[in-house]
Protein backbone atom coordinates (compact mmCIF):
# COMPACT_ATOMS: atom_id res chain seq x y z
CA UNK A 1 0.00 0.00 0.00
CA UNK A 2 2.74 2.32 1.04
CA UNK A 3 4.78 1.51 -2.00
CA UNK A 4 1.75 2.08 -4.16
CA UNK A 5 1.33 5.53 -2.75
CA UNK A 6 4.93 6.40 -3.47
CA UNK A 7 4.46 5.32 -7.04
CA UNK A 8 1.35 7.47 -7.39
CA UNK A 9 3.06 10.51 -5.94
CA UNK A 10 6.05 9.92 -8.12
CA UNK A 11 3.97 9.54 -11.24
CA UNK A 12 2.00 12.65 -10.39
CA UNK A 13 5.22 14.57 -9.92
CA UNK A 14 6.48 13.44 -13.27
CA UNK A 15 3.25 14.37 -15.00
CA UNK A 16 3.26 17.74 -13.29
CA UNK A 17 6.87 18.38 -14.22
CA UNK A 18 6.22 17.29 -17.78
CA UNK A 19 3.19 19.57 -17.88
CA UNK A 20 5.15 22.46 -16.50
CA UNK A 21 7.94 21.81 -18.95
CA UNK A 22 5.52 21.55 -21.82
CA UNK A 23 3.94 24.83 -20.79
CA UNK A 24 7.36 26.41 -20.62
CA UNK A 25 8.59 24.95 -23.87
CA UNK A 26 5.48 25.46 -25.90
CA UNK A 27 5.29 28.37 -28.31
CA UNK A 28 2.40 29.01 -30.62
CA UNK A 29 2.75 29.03 -34.37
CA UNK A 30 2.42 32.48 -35.91
CA UNK A 31 0.26 32.08 -39.00
CA UNK A 32 1.87 32.46 -42.37
CA UNK A 33 1.42 35.84 -43.93
CA UNK A 34 0.95 35.22 -47.60
CA UNK A 35 1.72 38.76 -48.69
CA UNK A 36 4.75 39.26 -46.43
CA UNK A 37 7.27 38.96 -49.22
CA UNK A 38 5.39 41.39 -51.43
CA UNK A 39 5.19 44.15 -48.80
CA UNK A 40 6.73 47.49 -49.67
CA UNK A 41 9.10 49.25 -47.29
CA UNK A 42 10.45 52.77 -47.16
CA UNK A 43 13.87 52.89 -48.85
CA UNK A 44 15.41 54.55 -45.78
CA UNK A 45 14.23 51.67 -43.64
CA UNK A 46 15.75 49.13 -46.03
CA UNK A 47 19.03 51.10 -46.12
CA UNK A 48 19.15 51.16 -42.35
CA UNK A 49 18.46 47.43 -42.32
CA UNK A 50 21.36 46.84 -44.69
CA UNK A 51 23.68 48.59 -42.26
CA UNK A 52 22.34 46.59 -39.36
CA UNK A 53 22.65 43.31 -41.26
CA UNK A 54 26.29 44.16 -41.90
CA UNK A 55 26.81 44.86 -38.21
CA UNK A 56 25.14 41.54 -37.38
CA UNK A 57 27.32 39.82 -40.00
CA UNK A 58 24.22 37.81 -40.96
CA UNK A 59 25.71 36.98 -44.33
CA UNK A 60 28.64 35.10 -42.79
CA UNK A 61 26.56 32.25 -41.38
CA UNK A 62 23.54 32.46 -43.66
CA UNK A 63 25.47 32.08 -46.91
CA UNK A 64 27.46 29.26 -48.40
CA UNK A 65 30.46 30.96 -50.03
CA UNK A 66 29.89 31.18 -53.75
CA UNK A 67 26.13 30.71 -53.37
CA UNK A 68 23.51 33.48 -53.33
CA UNK A 69 23.66 35.72 -50.29
CA UNK A 70 21.43 34.81 -47.31
CA UNK A 71 20.24 31.55 -48.86
CA UNK A 72 21.54 29.50 -45.92
CA UNK A 73 22.88 25.96 -45.86
CA UNK A 74 26.29 26.73 -44.38
CA UNK A 75 27.53 23.95 -42.11
CA UNK A 76 28.31 25.20 -38.62
CA UNK A 77 30.32 22.62 -36.76
CA UNK A 78 29.60 22.54 -33.00
CA UNK A 79 30.76 20.12 -30.31
CA UNK A 80 27.25 18.62 -30.48
CA UNK A 81 27.12 17.99 -34.20
CA UNK A 82 26.63 20.05 -37.33
CA UNK A 83 23.95 22.69 -37.67
CA UNK A 84 23.05 24.12 -41.06
CA UNK A 85 22.11 27.77 -41.28
CA UNK A 86 18.67 28.58 -42.61
CA UNK A 87 17.60 30.39 -45.73
CA UNK A 88 16.61 33.93 -44.71
CA UNK A 89 15.69 35.17 -48.16
CA UNK A 90 11.99 35.89 -48.65
CA UNK A 91 11.29 32.63 -50.47
CA UNK A 92 7.88 31.42 -49.33
CA UNK A 93 8.68 27.69 -49.21
CA UNK A 94 12.30 27.45 -48.14
CA UNK A 95 13.01 30.89 -46.69
CA UNK A 96 11.17 33.40 -44.52
CA UNK A 97 8.80 34.62 -47.22
CA UNK A 98 5.77 33.70 -45.10
CA UNK A 99 7.06 35.33 -41.94
CA UNK A 100 5.20 38.34 -40.61
CA UNK A 101 7.20 41.04 -38.87
CA UNK A 102 5.84 39.68 -35.62
CA UNK A 103 7.37 36.28 -36.32
CA UNK A 104 10.71 37.89 -37.17
CA UNK A 105 10.64 40.00 -34.02
CA UNK A 106 9.94 36.91 -31.96
CA UNK A 107 12.79 34.95 -33.54
CA UNK A 108 15.26 37.73 -32.72
CA UNK A 109 13.80 38.28 -29.29
CA UNK A 110 13.12 34.74 -28.08
CA UNK A 111 14.92 32.37 -30.43
CA UNK A 112 11.71 30.76 -31.70
CA UNK A 113 10.83 30.29 -35.36
CA UNK A 114 7.52 31.11 -37.02
CA UNK A 115 6.18 27.60 -36.47
CA UNK A 116 6.86 27.93 -32.75
CA UNK A 117 9.96 25.69 -32.62
CA UNK A 118 12.87 26.66 -30.43
CA UNK A 119 15.98 27.63 -32.36
CA UNK A 120 19.45 26.36 -31.55
CA UNK A 121 21.64 29.00 -29.96
CA UNK A 122 24.04 28.76 -32.91
CA UNK A 123 21.69 31.56 -33.93
CA UNK A 124 22.96 34.03 -31.35
CA UNK A 125 19.60 35.12 -29.95
CA UNK A 126 21.27 35.42 -26.56
CA UNK A 127 22.64 38.62 -28.14
CA UNK A 128 19.92 39.47 -30.62
CA UNK A 129 17.37 39.59 -27.80
CA UNK A 130 18.97 42.96 -26.93
CA UNK A 131 18.08 44.47 -30.30
CA UNK A 132 15.33 47.06 -30.28
CA UNK A 133 12.02 46.46 -32.03
CA UNK A 134 12.79 49.42 -34.23
CA UNK A 135 16.09 47.94 -35.44
CA UNK A 136 14.46 44.57 -35.97
CA UNK A 137 11.86 46.26 -38.15
CA UNK A 138 14.63 47.69 -40.35
CA UNK A 139 16.37 44.31 -40.54
CA UNK A 140 13.11 42.69 -41.50
CA UNK A 141 12.56 45.28 -44.21
CA UNK A 142 16.05 44.64 -45.56
CA UNK A 143 15.75 40.86 -45.61
CA UNK A 144 12.24 40.85 -47.09
CA UNK A 145 13.44 42.98 -49.99
CA UNK A 146 16.30 40.64 -50.98
CA UNK A 147 15.92 38.37 -53.96
CA UNK A 148 13.96 35.26 -52.97
CA UNK A 149 16.09 32.16 -53.44
CA UNK A 150 14.73 28.64 -53.36
CA UNK A 151 17.25 26.67 -51.34
CA UNK A 152 16.55 24.02 -48.75
CA UNK A 153 19.18 23.73 -46.02
CA UNK A 154 20.40 20.19 -45.29
CA UNK A 155 19.04 18.47 -42.17
CA UNK A 156 20.97 19.20 -39.00
CA UNK A 157 23.24 16.40 -37.95
CA UNK A 158 23.00 16.46 -34.16
CA UNK A 159 23.38 13.85 -31.46
CA UNK A 160 20.22 12.56 -29.80
CA UNK A 161 18.52 13.93 -27.69
CA UNK A 162 19.50 17.36 -28.99
CA UNK A 163 17.38 16.75 -32.05
CA UNK A 164 14.37 17.23 -29.75
CA UNK A 165 13.89 20.99 -29.83
CA UNK A 166 11.64 21.44 -26.79
CA UNK A 167 14.73 20.59 -24.75
CA UNK A 168 16.07 23.96 -25.78
CA UNK A 169 13.56 25.49 -23.41
CA UNK A 170 15.64 24.05 -20.58
CA UNK A 171 18.78 25.53 -22.10
CA UNK A 172 17.10 28.88 -22.29
CA UNK A 173 15.95 28.63 -18.71
CA UNK A 174 19.53 28.08 -17.60
CA UNK A 175 21.45 30.38 -19.93
CA UNK A 176 19.16 32.78 -21.76
CA UNK A 177 18.61 36.23 -20.35
CA UNK A 178 15.87 37.65 -22.49
CA UNK A 179 15.21 41.27 -23.37
CA UNK A 180 16.92 44.63 -23.48
CA UNK A 181 19.82 45.51 -21.17
CA UNK A 182 19.17 47.61 -18.08
CA UNK A 183 20.28 51.17 -18.68
CA UNK A 184 23.40 52.20 -16.78
CA UNK A 185 22.95 55.90 -16.12
CA UNK A 186 26.48 56.36 -14.78
CA UNK A 187 27.90 55.80 -18.26
CA UNK A 188 28.34 58.10 -21.24
CA UNK A 189 26.07 58.08 -24.24
CA UNK A 190 28.85 56.64 -26.41
CA UNK A 191 29.43 53.79 -23.96
CA UNK A 192 25.72 53.01 -23.86
CA UNK A 193 25.51 53.00 -27.63
CA UNK A 194 28.65 50.85 -27.81
CA UNK A 195 27.24 48.37 -25.37
CA UNK A 196 24.03 48.15 -27.38
CA UNK A 197 25.96 47.45 -30.59
CA UNK A 198 28.46 45.03 -29.07
CA UNK A 199 26.11 43.05 -26.85
CA UNK A 200 23.28 43.06 -29.36
CA UNK A 201 23.58 42.73 -33.11
CA UNK A 202 27.39 42.84 -33.13
CA UNK A 203 27.39 39.71 -30.92
CA UNK A 204 31.15 40.06 -30.37
CA UNK A 205 30.97 37.73 -27.38
CA UNK A 206 29.77 34.87 -29.57
CA UNK A 207 33.35 34.43 -30.75
CA UNK A 208 35.40 36.30 -28.15
CA UNK A 209 33.93 34.55 -25.07
CA UNK A 210 34.72 30.91 -24.29
CA UNK A 211 31.77 28.51 -24.09
CA UNK A 212 30.81 26.13 -21.31
CA UNK A 213 29.94 22.42 -21.62
CA UNK A 214 26.42 23.34 -22.76
CA UNK A 215 27.63 25.61 -25.51
CA UNK A 216 26.61 28.77 -23.69
CA UNK A 217 28.95 31.72 -23.28
CA UNK A 218 30.82 31.44 -20.01
CA UNK A 219 29.91 34.68 -18.26
CA UNK A 220 32.73 34.27 -15.76
CA UNK A 221 35.24 34.59 -18.56
CA UNK A 222 33.43 37.26 -20.42
CA UNK A 223 35.40 38.30 -23.54
CA UNK A 224 38.21 36.04 -22.32
CA UNK A 225 38.89 34.69 -25.83
CA UNK A 226 37.13 32.02 -27.86
CA UNK A 227 37.22 30.34 -31.22
CA UNK A 228 35.72 30.92 -34.64
CA UNK A 229 36.08 28.93 -37.84
CA UNK A 230 39.38 27.42 -36.84
CA UNK A 231 40.84 30.72 -35.59
CA UNK A 232 41.41 32.00 -32.09
CA UNK A 233 39.29 35.00 -31.24
CA UNK A 234 41.61 36.81 -28.85
CA UNK A 235 40.77 37.88 -25.34
CA UNK A 236 39.40 41.41 -25.47
CA UNK A 237 39.11 41.95 -21.75
CA UNK A 238 41.89 42.60 -19.24
CA UNK A 239 43.64 39.46 -20.53
CA UNK A 240 44.30 40.96 -23.97
CA UNK A 241 47.82 40.07 -25.04
CA UNK A 242 48.39 43.02 -27.33
CA UNK A 243 51.95 44.23 -26.56
CA UNK A 244 50.78 47.82 -26.98
CA UNK A 245 47.39 47.82 -25.26
CA UNK A 246 44.43 48.88 -27.32
CA UNK A 247 42.98 52.28 -26.67
CA UNK A 248 39.86 53.93 -28.04
CA UNK A 249 41.67 55.55 -30.93
CA UNK A 250 43.61 52.51 -32.09
CA UNK A 251 40.64 50.18 -31.77
CA UNK A 252 38.36 52.55 -33.68
CA UNK A 253 40.99 52.88 -36.40
CA UNK A 254 41.37 49.10 -36.61
CA UNK A 255 37.63 48.48 -36.81
CA UNK A 256 37.28 51.20 -39.43
CA UNK A 257 40.23 50.21 -41.63
CA UNK A 258 40.92 46.56 -40.86
CA UNK A 259 44.45 47.24 -39.62
CA UNK A 260 46.47 49.34 -37.21
CA UNK A 261 50.18 50.12 -37.23
CA UNK A 262 50.66 48.71 -33.71
CA UNK A 263 48.45 45.66 -34.17
CA UNK A 264 48.57 44.49 -37.76
CA UNK A 265 45.75 43.47 -40.08
CA UNK A 266 42.48 41.74 -39.30
CA UNK A 267 42.32 38.28 -40.82
CA UNK A 268 40.32 35.09 -40.70
CA UNK A 269 36.72 35.67 -39.64
CA UNK A 270 37.65 39.07 -38.20
CA UNK A 271 38.49 40.28 -41.71
CA UNK A 272 34.86 39.74 -42.61
CA UNK A 273 33.79 41.61 -39.49
CA UNK A 274 35.94 44.67 -40.17
CA UNK A 275 34.93 44.50 -43.83
CA UNK A 276 31.26 44.54 -42.90
CA UNK A 277 31.66 47.30 -40.35
CA UNK A 278 32.61 49.67 -43.15
CA UNK A 279 28.91 50.42 -43.55
CA UNK A 280 28.63 51.84 -40.04
CA UNK A 281 28.99 55.55 -39.27
CA UNK A 282 32.17 56.69 -37.49
CA UNK A 283 30.19 57.51 -34.37
CA UNK A 284 29.09 53.88 -34.01
CA UNK A 285 32.61 52.56 -34.58
CA UNK A 286 33.88 54.95 -31.93
CA UNK A 287 31.11 53.84 -29.57
CA UNK A 288 32.12 50.19 -29.99
CA UNK A 289 35.74 51.13 -29.25
CA UNK A 290 34.66 53.08 -26.17
CA UNK A 291 32.73 50.15 -24.79
CA UNK A 292 35.30 47.44 -25.55
CA UNK A 293 38.22 49.42 -24.15
CA UNK A 294 36.20 50.03 -21.00
CA UNK A 295 36.01 46.23 -20.65
CA UNK A 296 39.74 45.88 -21.26
CA UNK A 297 40.39 48.43 -18.56
CA UNK A 298 43.66 50.23 -17.96
CA UNK A 299 46.81 48.15 -18.43
CA UNK A 300 48.92 47.25 -15.40
CA UNK A 301 51.86 49.58 -14.77
CA UNK A 302 54.43 47.05 -16.10
CA UNK A 303 52.42 46.48 -19.23
CA UNK A 304 52.07 50.21 -19.67
CA UNK A 305 55.80 50.70 -19.28
CA UNK A 306 56.69 48.05 -21.79
CA UNK A 307 54.18 49.52 -24.18
CA UNK A 308 55.72 52.98 -23.82
CA UNK A 309 59.08 51.57 -24.88
CA UNK A 310 57.55 49.79 -27.84
CA UNK A 311 55.76 52.93 -28.88
CA UNK A 312 58.98 54.83 -28.85
CA UNK A 313 60.63 52.21 -31.01
CA UNK A 314 57.84 51.75 -33.47
CA UNK A 315 56.18 55.13 -33.69
CA UNK A 316 56.63 57.59 -36.48
CA UNK A 317 59.40 57.15 -38.99
CA UNK A 318 61.37 54.24 -37.57
CA UNK A 319 61.01 52.54 -40.93
CA UNK A 320 62.89 55.24 -42.74
CA UNK A 321 65.84 54.73 -40.44
CA UNK A 322 65.91 50.96 -40.84
CA UNK A 323 68.40 49.45 -43.21
CA UNK A 324 67.26 48.66 -46.72
CA UNK A 325 66.25 45.04 -46.33
CA UNK A 326 65.29 44.62 -49.92
CA UNK A 327 68.76 44.75 -51.33
CA UNK A 328 70.62 42.89 -48.61
CA UNK A 329 69.30 39.47 -47.78
CA UNK A 330 70.22 38.52 -44.25
CA UNK A 331 72.60 35.71 -43.54
CA UNK A 332 71.38 32.67 -41.71
CA UNK A 333 74.62 31.66 -40.12
CA UNK A 334 74.50 29.97 -36.75
CA UNK A 335 71.49 29.81 -34.47
CA UNK A 336 68.72 27.25 -34.25
CA UNK A 337 67.02 25.81 -37.35
CA UNK A 338 64.00 27.96 -36.52
CA UNK A 339 66.11 31.09 -36.35
CA UNK A 340 67.77 30.32 -39.66
CA UNK A 341 64.40 29.91 -41.40
CA UNK A 342 62.93 32.97 -39.70
CA UNK A 343 65.84 35.17 -40.74
CA UNK A 344 65.85 33.89 -44.30
CA UNK A 345 62.13 33.63 -45.00
CA UNK A 346 60.28 35.92 -42.58
CA UNK A 347 62.51 38.80 -41.57
CA UNK A 348 62.76 40.46 -44.98
CA UNK A 349 59.11 41.51 -44.68
CA UNK A 350 58.48 41.36 -40.94
CA UNK A 351 61.51 43.44 -40.13
CA UNK A 352 61.46 45.28 -43.41
CA UNK A 353 60.62 48.74 -44.52
CA UNK A 354 57.04 48.57 -45.64
CA UNK A 355 54.39 50.07 -43.46
CA UNK A 356 51.22 48.42 -42.28
CA UNK A 357 49.03 47.14 -43.77
CA UNK A 358 51.25 46.16 -46.71
CA UNK A 359 54.39 45.24 -44.83
CA UNK A 360 54.72 42.41 -42.35
CA UNK A 361 53.99 43.34 -38.75
CA UNK A 362 57.03 43.45 -36.52
CA UNK A 363 56.51 40.58 -34.09
CA UNK A 364 57.40 42.73 -31.12
CA UNK A 365 53.91 44.16 -31.69
CA UNK A 366 52.14 40.89 -32.33
CA UNK A 367 49.25 39.62 -30.24
CA UNK A 368 49.49 36.28 -32.03
CA UNK A 369 53.02 35.57 -30.77
CA UNK A 370 51.85 36.26 -27.24
CA UNK A 371 48.56 34.35 -27.46
CA UNK A 372 48.09 31.28 -25.27
CA UNK A 373 47.23 29.21 -28.36
CA UNK A 374 49.42 29.42 -31.49
CA UNK A 375 46.64 28.52 -33.92
CA UNK A 376 46.44 31.87 -35.68
CA UNK A 377 50.14 32.02 -36.54
CA UNK A 378 49.98 28.42 -37.71
CA UNK A 379 47.06 29.30 -39.99
CA UNK A 380 48.83 32.31 -41.46
CA UNK A 381 52.14 30.52 -41.99
CA UNK A 382 50.51 27.55 -43.69
CA UNK A 383 47.84 29.31 -45.73
CA UNK A 384 49.09 32.88 -45.99
CA UNK A 385 46.84 35.88 -46.46
CA UNK A 386 45.30 35.78 -49.94
CA UNK A 387 44.96 39.13 -51.69
CA UNK A 388 41.60 40.87 -51.83
CA UNK A 389 39.84 41.21 -55.18
CA UNK A 390 40.23 44.46 -57.04
CA UNK A 391 41.79 46.54 -54.29
CA UNK A 392 45.14 46.98 -52.63
CA UNK A 393 45.34 44.75 -49.59
CA UNK A 394 47.64 43.04 -47.19
CA UNK A 395 49.02 39.81 -48.59
CA UNK A 396 51.26 37.08 -47.31
CA UNK A 397 52.50 34.06 -49.25
CA UNK A 398 51.50 30.63 -47.98
CA UNK A 399 54.36 28.45 -46.75
CA UNK A 400 52.62 25.10 -46.55
CA UNK A 401 54.33 23.77 -49.66
CA UNK A 402 57.75 24.83 -48.44
CA UNK A 403 57.94 24.07 -44.74
CA UNK A 404 57.47 20.72 -43.03
CA UNK A 405 55.49 20.48 -39.79
CA UNK A 406 58.74 20.33 -37.88
CA UNK A 407 60.13 23.39 -39.67
CA UNK A 408 57.01 25.45 -38.95
CA UNK A 409 57.23 24.35 -35.33
CA UNK A 410 60.89 25.38 -35.20
CA UNK A 411 60.11 28.83 -36.56
CA UNK A 412 57.24 29.36 -34.13
CA UNK A 413 59.29 28.19 -31.17
CA UNK A 414 62.01 30.65 -32.12
CA UNK A 415 59.53 33.51 -32.52
CA UNK A 416 57.88 32.75 -29.20
CA UNK A 417 61.22 32.81 -27.46
CA UNK A 418 62.47 35.94 -29.14
CA UNK A 419 59.33 38.08 -29.21
CA UNK A 420 57.36 37.02 -26.14
CA UNK A 421 57.87 36.53 -22.45
CA UNK A 422 55.20 33.85 -22.31
CA UNK A 423 55.89 30.13 -21.79
CA UNK A 424 56.85 28.10 -24.88
CA UNK A 425 53.90 26.59 -26.75
CA UNK A 426 53.35 22.86 -26.27
CA UNK A 427 52.27 20.34 -28.92
CA UNK A 428 53.21 22.49 -31.90
CA UNK A 429 54.02 19.73 -34.39
CA UNK A 430 50.73 17.94 -33.82
CA UNK A 431 48.70 21.13 -34.08
CA UNK A 432 50.46 22.07 -37.31
CA UNK A 433 49.91 18.59 -38.77
CA UNK A 434 46.21 18.70 -37.90
CA UNK A 435 45.82 22.13 -39.39
CA UNK A 436 47.61 21.12 -42.56
CA UNK A 437 45.58 17.93 -42.98
CA UNK A 438 42.27 19.68 -42.38
CA UNK A 439 41.52 17.65 -39.25
CA UNK A 440 41.38 21.09 -37.71
CA UNK A 441 39.26 22.99 -40.21
CA UNK A 442 40.26 26.57 -40.97
CA UNK A 443 38.44 29.15 -43.05
CA UNK A 444 40.82 31.18 -45.20
CA UNK A 445 39.86 34.72 -45.99
CA UNK A 446 41.63 37.57 -47.74
CA UNK A 447 41.62 40.92 -46.05
CA UNK A 448 38.41 42.01 -47.75
CA UNK A 449 36.76 39.20 -45.83
CA UNK A 450 35.37 37.19 -48.70
CA UNK A 451 35.86 33.54 -47.97
CA UNK A 452 38.38 31.89 -50.25
CA UNK A 453 38.63 28.33 -49.04
CA UNK A 454 39.42 26.27 -50.93
CA UNK A 455 37.56 26.74 -54.21
CA UNK A 456 35.55 29.77 -53.71
CA UNK A 457 35.75 33.28 -54.94
CA UNK A 458 33.14 34.89 -52.81
CA UNK A 459 29.42 34.91 -52.30
CA UNK A 460 27.24 36.66 -54.82
CA UNK A 461 25.28 39.57 -53.47
CA UNK A 462 21.59 38.85 -53.93
Amino acid sequence: MWAFRVVIVFAAAIILAAGAFFFLAWRSEIPEEAAAAEAAFAPELVAKGAQLAALGNCIACHTVPGKPAFSGGLALPTPFGTIYSTNITPDRETGIGGWSEEAFQRAMNEGVDREGDHLYPAFPYDHFTRVSAEDNRALYAFLMTRAAVKAEAPQNDLQFPLTYRPLLAAWKLAFFDRGALEPDTSQSEAWTRGRYLVEGLGHCGACHTPRNAFGAEDRDQYFGGGEAEGWQAYAINKDSKAPIPWDEQSLAFYLRNGWHEFHGVSRGPMAEVTGNLSGLPDSDIMAIATYITSIMGDPTPERGQRAAQLRETFEGDYLEQAADSQSSPVSASGGSPGEAIYLAACASCHEGQRRQPFGGLNFNLSTAVNAPNPQNIVNVVLFGLPPADGEASAVMPAFRHLLSDQQVADVLAYMRERFSEEQPWAGLVELIANTRSGAHKVTIRPSDGIERAPHNVGAEEG
Binding site: Q326, P329, A332, A340, I341, A345, G352
Partner: protein, 166 residues
Protein backbone atom coordinates in the same frame (compact mmCIF):
# COMPACT_ATOMS: atom_id res chain seq x y z
CA UNK B 1 77.97 26.38 -48.40
CA UNK B 2 77.27 23.90 -51.17
CA UNK B 3 73.63 23.04 -51.80
CA UNK B 4 72.22 20.52 -54.25
CA UNK B 5 69.16 21.54 -56.20
CA UNK B 6 67.13 19.74 -58.85
CA UNK B 7 66.04 22.24 -61.46
CA UNK B 8 64.00 21.23 -64.51
CA UNK B 9 65.03 17.66 -63.95
CA UNK B 10 68.80 18.19 -63.74
CA UNK B 11 70.83 18.18 -60.55
CA UNK B 12 72.91 21.27 -59.76
CA UNK B 13 75.44 21.98 -57.10
CA UNK B 14 75.52 25.63 -56.08
CA UNK B 15 77.71 27.46 -53.65
CA UNK B 16 75.52 29.92 -51.79
CA UNK B 17 74.58 31.26 -48.40
CA UNK B 18 71.68 29.04 -47.31
CA UNK B 19 69.56 32.15 -46.76
CA UNK B 20 69.86 33.25 -50.38
CA UNK B 21 66.48 33.46 -52.10
CA UNK B 22 66.02 30.81 -54.76
CA UNK B 23 65.39 33.53 -57.34
CA UNK B 24 68.94 34.88 -56.96
CA UNK B 25 70.44 31.42 -57.33
CA UNK B 26 68.37 30.68 -60.42
CA UNK B 27 69.30 33.91 -62.13
CA UNK B 28 72.83 34.53 -60.90
CA UNK B 29 74.25 31.03 -60.51
CA UNK B 30 72.27 28.93 -62.96
CA UNK B 31 71.66 31.58 -65.63
CA UNK B 32 67.97 30.72 -65.68
CA UNK B 33 66.64 34.22 -66.24
CA UNK B 34 63.03 33.35 -66.92
CA UNK B 35 61.86 34.00 -63.37
CA UNK B 36 61.80 37.77 -62.87
CA UNK B 37 62.59 40.02 -59.95
CA UNK B 38 59.66 42.37 -59.47
CA UNK B 39 59.39 43.31 -55.82
CA UNK B 40 61.50 40.85 -53.88
CA UNK B 41 58.77 40.89 -51.23
CA UNK B 42 56.33 38.20 -52.25
CA UNK B 43 53.83 40.69 -53.57
CA UNK B 44 53.91 40.59 -57.36
CA UNK B 45 54.34 36.99 -58.48
CA UNK B 46 56.81 37.66 -61.31
CA UNK B 47 59.30 35.29 -59.65
CA UNK B 48 56.87 32.35 -59.41
CA UNK B 49 58.34 28.90 -59.97
CA UNK B 50 56.94 25.45 -59.21
CA UNK B 51 58.32 23.34 -56.36
CA UNK B 52 57.08 19.77 -56.11
CA UNK B 53 54.05 20.70 -58.18
CA UNK B 54 53.06 23.82 -56.27
CA UNK B 55 53.53 27.45 -57.29
CA UNK B 56 55.82 29.33 -54.92
CA UNK B 57 57.39 32.78 -54.95
CA UNK B 58 61.09 32.19 -55.47
CA UNK B 59 62.07 35.60 -54.08
CA UNK B 60 60.74 34.47 -50.70
CA UNK B 61 62.23 31.01 -50.49
CA UNK B 62 65.70 30.57 -49.05
CA UNK B 63 67.58 27.81 -50.90
CA UNK B 64 68.17 25.93 -47.66
CA UNK B 65 64.54 24.76 -47.83
CA UNK B 66 64.97 23.24 -51.27
CA UNK B 67 67.53 20.44 -50.87
CA UNK B 68 66.37 17.54 -52.98
CA UNK B 69 63.09 19.09 -54.11
CA UNK B 70 61.89 19.27 -57.73
CA UNK B 71 62.05 22.83 -58.98
CA UNK B 72 60.50 23.74 -62.32
CA UNK B 73 61.05 27.11 -63.97
CA UNK B 74 59.62 28.51 -67.17
CA UNK B 75 62.65 27.11 -69.00
CA UNK B 76 61.38 23.66 -68.03
CA UNK B 77 58.09 24.11 -69.87
CA UNK B 78 59.57 23.98 -73.36
CA UNK B 79 62.13 25.54 -75.70
CA UNK B 80 61.98 28.17 -78.42
CA UNK B 81 61.87 25.45 -81.04
CA UNK B 82 59.51 23.26 -79.12
CA UNK B 83 57.31 25.38 -76.92
CA UNK B 84 55.20 23.52 -74.37
CA UNK B 85 51.41 23.82 -74.46
CA UNK B 86 51.33 26.82 -72.11
CA UNK B 87 53.97 28.66 -74.09
CA UNK B 88 52.28 27.77 -77.35
CA UNK B 89 48.93 29.03 -76.09
CA UNK B 90 50.43 32.32 -74.87
CA UNK B 91 52.06 32.82 -78.29
CA UNK B 92 48.92 31.86 -80.18
CA UNK B 93 46.77 34.29 -78.25
CA UNK B 94 49.44 36.98 -78.00
CA UNK B 95 48.91 37.12 -74.26
CA UNK B 96 52.06 39.08 -73.41
CA UNK B 97 52.58 42.79 -73.75
CA UNK B 98 55.87 43.73 -72.07
CA UNK B 99 56.09 40.14 -70.88
CA UNK B 100 57.63 40.78 -67.49
CA UNK B 101 54.85 39.09 -65.54
CA UNK B 102 54.32 36.26 -68.00
CA UNK B 103 56.79 33.65 -66.70
CA UNK B 104 55.20 33.95 -63.26
CA UNK B 105 51.71 33.80 -64.74
CA UNK B 106 52.64 30.69 -66.69
CA UNK B 107 54.13 28.95 -63.69
CA UNK B 108 51.07 29.62 -61.54
CA UNK B 109 48.96 28.36 -64.43
CA UNK B 110 51.21 25.33 -64.82
CA UNK B 111 50.65 24.34 -61.18
CA UNK B 112 46.90 24.83 -61.63
CA UNK B 113 46.62 22.87 -64.88
CA UNK B 114 48.57 19.96 -63.43
CA UNK B 115 45.79 19.31 -60.96
CA UNK B 116 42.89 20.60 -62.99
CA UNK B 117 43.06 20.60 -66.79
CA UNK B 118 39.68 22.30 -67.19
CA UNK B 119 39.66 25.09 -64.66
CA UNK B 120 36.77 27.55 -64.59
CA UNK B 121 37.55 31.24 -64.98
CA UNK B 122 36.97 31.63 -61.26
CA UNK B 123 39.55 28.94 -60.53
CA UNK B 124 42.08 30.54 -62.87
CA UNK B 125 41.56 33.93 -61.26
CA UNK B 126 41.98 32.39 -57.85
CA UNK B 127 45.18 30.56 -58.77
CA UNK B 128 46.63 33.71 -60.32
CA UNK B 129 45.49 36.09 -57.59
CA UNK B 130 49.11 36.53 -56.47
CA UNK B 131 50.37 37.43 -59.98
CA UNK B 132 50.18 41.07 -61.00
CA UNK B 133 50.33 42.39 -64.56
CA UNK B 134 51.06 46.07 -64.98
CA UNK B 135 50.28 46.06 -68.68
CA UNK B 136 46.78 44.75 -68.22
CA UNK B 137 46.74 41.72 -70.48
CA UNK B 138 44.55 39.80 -68.05
CA UNK B 139 41.78 38.85 -70.46
CA UNK B 140 44.27 37.36 -72.90
CA UNK B 141 46.09 35.59 -70.10
CA UNK B 142 42.81 34.00 -69.04
CA UNK B 143 42.10 32.96 -72.62
CA UNK B 144 45.62 31.56 -73.07
CA UNK B 145 45.34 29.44 -69.96
CA UNK B 146 42.01 28.02 -71.09
CA UNK B 147 43.61 27.29 -74.45
CA UNK B 148 46.62 25.63 -72.81
CA UNK B 149 44.25 23.36 -70.91
CA UNK B 150 42.70 22.31 -74.22
CA UNK B 151 46.10 21.70 -75.81
CA UNK B 152 47.20 19.59 -72.85
CA UNK B 153 44.03 17.53 -72.94
CA UNK B 154 44.32 17.02 -76.68
CA UNK B 155 47.91 15.90 -76.23
CA UNK B 156 47.02 13.38 -73.56
CA UNK B 157 44.18 11.80 -75.55
CA UNK B 158 45.20 8.53 -77.20
CA UNK B 159 46.10 8.97 -80.87
CA UNK B 160 43.44 7.52 -83.18
CA UNK B 161 44.80 4.18 -84.39
CA UNK B 162 45.62 3.95 -88.04
CA UNK B 163 44.31 1.41 -90.49
CA UNK B 164 41.04 0.74 -88.74
CA UNK B 165 37.79 2.19 -89.92
CA UNK B 166 35.08 3.58 -87.66
Amino acid sequence: MSISLIVNGSPHQVDADPATPLLYVLRDDLALNGAKYGCGLGQCGSCTVVVDGEAVLSCMVPVMLLEGREITTIEGLGTIDEPGPLQQAFIELQAAQCGYCIPGMMMSAHALLRRNARPSDAEIREALATNLCRCGTHMRILAAIRRAGELMQAASLPEPEEGRAG
